[in-house]
Each structure stands twice: as structure tokens, then as C-alpha cells.
């Protein structure tokens, strides 16, 4: 039971943050887009503030929230670099990631986000299947 309660609670908290942000600021929460703005746009302050909050909030893991599975030991750096390059390039080319397409896009039933989510889920599942 616990195995589902925490994911559901976490999901509700994520939904609350995206819904509140939408109604207050008019914008969607897309982490890949916000990161790109923090790095490459002229208006960096707000995206940088967002990412600082994200990292601080995520730091609750292991401090307030006990991991049920340990973090992976450092894996092959080359694997992490190839993964990061694909995620960085792919999310910009595809205009979004798990948050922008997966959460915010599906919440408003966007056809682009539905297609993107089906594709990145399917390719990720296939990748795990082939590399395991």
C-alpha cells in the first residue's frame, strides 16, 4: 500500500505546483524549457530562481524522505554523458520533457504532448529492455 501512497502524494504535490503556477503566472512548468531559459535567454532571473527552488525541494530526498531503494552507485560516466546529451538535445528539439509534455500537456489534453509522451515513454521502455 505504502508503495502507492507516496508516489500518489508526490504526484498530487507536483500537480498542485503546476496548477498554482498556471493560475498565478499564466505559464506552464516545463523543466527542460525553464533550464534552457535560465541558460540562454536574456531574462534569466525567474528561471534561475525556479531551478534553485527545484534543487532545494528535491534535496528533501534522503533528508526528510527515506529512499526505499538506494541511489545507484556512480555508473559509467560515458553512459551518463550520452544520456545527458540525448535528453538535453531531444527535449529542446521536441519542445518538452516529462513535466512540460507529460504533466502539463496531458493536463490540457494537448495532442502534441500526447504524441510526445507516447513516443518518449515507448523509446525509454525499449531502451531499458535492450540495455538490461
Amino acid at each position: 500500500m505504502d508503495a502507492y501512497i507516496y508516489p500518489l502524494m508526490g504526484g498530487l504535490i507536483i500537480g498542485l505546483s503546476t496548477a498554482a503556477y498556471l493560475l498565478l503566472t499564466g505559464k506552464v512548468v516545463g523543466i527542460s524549457g525553464i533550464l534552457a531559459q535560465a541558460l540562454f535567454s536574456k531574462e534569466r532571473l525567474l528561471p534561475v530562481i525556479f531551478i534553485a527552488g527545484l534543487i532545494i525541494g528535491g534535496s528533501a530526498y534522503g533528508v526528510l524522505i527515506e529512499p526505499s531503494v538506494p541511489f545507484p552507485e556512480l555508473r559509467n560516466p560515458l553512459l551518463l554523458i550520452v544520456s545527458g546529451l540525448l535528453v538535453g538535445y531531444g527535449t529542446r528539439m521536441g519542445s518538452g520533457c516529462t513535466s512540460g509534455h507529460g504533466v502539463c500537456g496531458l493536463s490540457r489534453l494537448s495532442p502534441r504532448s500526447l504524441v510526445a509522451t507516447v513516443i518518449f515513454m515507448a523509446t525509454a521502455i525499449l531502451t531499458v529492455f535492450l540495455t538490461k
Binding site: 507516496y6 508516489p7 500518489l8 502524494m9 508526490g10 504526484g11 498530487l12 504535490i13 507536483i14 498542485l16 505546483s17 503546476t18 496548477a19 503556477y21 498556471l22 493560475l23 503566472t25 499564466g26 505559464k27 525556479f50 527552488g53 527545484l54 534543487i55 532545494i56 525541494g57 528535491g58 530526498y61 524522505i65 531503494v69 538506494p70 555508473r75 551518463l80 554523458i81 550520452v82 544520456s83 545527458g84 540525448l86 538535453g88 538535445y89 531531444g90 527535449t91 529542446r92 528539439m93 521536441g94 520533457c97 516529462t98 504533466v103 493536463s107 490540457r108 494537448s110 495532442p111 502534441r112 510526445a116 509522451t117 513516443i119 518518449f120 525509454a124 531502451t127 531499458v128 540495455t131
Partner: protein, 139 residues
Amino acid sequence: MIALVTFLTGLLFGLGLAVSEMTNPAIVLGFLDIFGNWNPSLVFVMGGAVAIGMLGYVIRNRRTKPWLADKWYVPTRRDIDKNLIIGSAMFGIGWGLSGYCPGPGLTALTNNPAEAVYFVGALIAGAGLFHFQNHRKNS
């Protein structure tokens, strides 16, 4: 005020990732491993987030503008183009290799810095490569 809301949104989003354990790539890989020892937790994370997100759009559709801004900045494109398909496929392959998508990758900077330096460095390089390629093309 906008700065405070932006900070709290990031904080809450990060906390949601932590509570749902999406900050840990081992859990995410367990979800993606549907043909193995499947961990369904991401279904509940997405379900909870989308349910509240939909409620947000129901309220939005009854309002002419946001509380703290003059207009909505919600994406309006509906076309399915090549970039969307290829980009999303590249993202999925990268996500499946490590279990990190952008949010959990960034939170790993404090949770698992030994891995995050490689992943986040490459994440920024990949995003930058696309940005500068297209910046040049458009100018």
C-alpha cells in the same frame, strides 16, 4: 511577488519529485522495465499530477487572465511535426539509458552529485547545441 511564486513552485515541484521518489533513477528505471520486475509508481505520480493539473485548466478556462500576469503563456501549437517526433524519441532513449529526465537530473546535483556532474553537464551541452544551431539558422 512573481519571484516568490516562482521559487515556491520550484520548491513544491522538487518536493513532489522527492516524495514520489522520482529523484532516484533506480526507481524510474524500475518503472521503465515493464518486461522485468515492474515498479508501477510513475503511473501514480503522473495520475496524481495530471488530475490536479486538469483541475487547474478547468479553473483557467473560467478566467480571462492569470492572477499575477496580464495574459496566458500556455503553448497553443497543435501540429505534429518531425522535430516533435525525433526530439521526443531522442529524449526517451536518453531517459532510458540513465533513468534521469531533466528535473530529477537537476535534483541529483545535491542528491547524487557524483553522477549529476556528468549528466547535468551533458544535459546543458545538448540543450545548448540545439539552441545555438537553431539560433544561427533563424538569424
